[in-house]
Amino acid sequence: MSEAALPHDLPDVPAAYEPSLFGTYSKKIGMWLFLLSDSLTFGALLYAYSYGRISTPNWPTPFHSESIVNATVMTAFLLTSSLTMVLAVRAAVFGDAKKQRLWLLATMACGMGFVILHGREWSTLIAEGLTLPVFPKLAEHATATEFADVAKTVPQFPATFFGLTGMHMLHVTLGVIYLGIVALRRTFIPILLVFWLAAWLGTPASSPFHYGAHILLVAAIVCAIILWLKPKVYDSADVEVAGLYWHFVDLVWMFIFPLVYLMSAKIL
């Protein structure tokens, strides 16, 4: 069907160039290549988690109903963000700039909801003793029992759990920034700096997010340089390419959610 809908030769374009090998524009092919390589990164992390689970007889199942409900709501946020992203692409191809911006902002809001819920869950788990040696020690750890035992007896669990979900959270955060730049361009830089200050000053020094918030500062600097070097109005192709990245982040979560949360649930 698609072969007929999108012919390789473009009769209205001078025949100075060869037809597109993949039937689409190079920015989109470039994003697909990036996503293929990134899926191997997540594949390696998921396989590492699965390897640990298979080879460890006493693999913990620490996620109670509250964690499962929280992760389910996070999943709903991501799935809804994918729908709003598709609607943003649709608005872009119809040339409706206002709707495009609104749907992009809705997508960002869902992504931020996901990150906030995930951050809250991380903070709870860390306070209850499921932590890594690199994370700061908390006063609550002295009295923590169940999760502290997990961290001591099966250190592979917190290592792979925080590694996998942390990498995904980083991707979602960068995705929100990417969409913010596409939607608001230069206007987003001061907004991003406000987010950085709020995240840095609003989290206690004992939280891993206190220093992790500096990712937003680095992203603001990188985005400012890009926008200064190549200022442009983003067209429907740019929105579609940004959408590919966003859907990929959603796609990866469709494997993390069942493998990490549902398979490690403690339902009483």
Partner: protein, 111 residues
């Protein structure tokens, strides 16, 4: 070259204009329902291997829906579909070479 790329992008955009909006809502609803099924199964206390098989199956269906409809792979030309998906599946399948080692550790009883 820029004009050439823009012409292709315009063709792709034209293709997008013909997609029905309802199909995206149907896919979104299907993804939510599949997620609800996954969570329901979690509360059924099934044997781990059977549970894992069903969850992986459902995740693959969800992944296919996202790639096919949300990422528009369904509407790409065959060459694009086959090259990207086959290379991805082949690379991910190769990583499974580590799993026999994980099973070996269990059967050796290494603490």
């Amino acid at each position: 070259m820029e004009a050439f790329q823009q012409a292709i992008a315009e063709r792709v955009a034209e293709q997008h204009r013909h997609h029905r909006m309802t199909q995206f809502f149907v896919v979104w609803a299907a993804l939510l329902i599949l997620t609800a099924v996954e969570v329901y199964l979690t509360y059924q206390n099934m044997p781990a291997v059977r549970m894992l098989t069903i969850l992986i199956g459902l995740s693959l269906v969800k992944a296919a829906l996202i790639i096919g409809y949300f990422m528009h792979m369904k509407y790409e030309i065959s060459r694009m579909k086959w090259l990207t998906m086959c290379s991805l599946v082949a690379c991910l399948a190769l990583m499974m070479i580590f799993f026999p080692d994980a099973l070996r550790i269990i059967s050796l009883g290494v603490k």
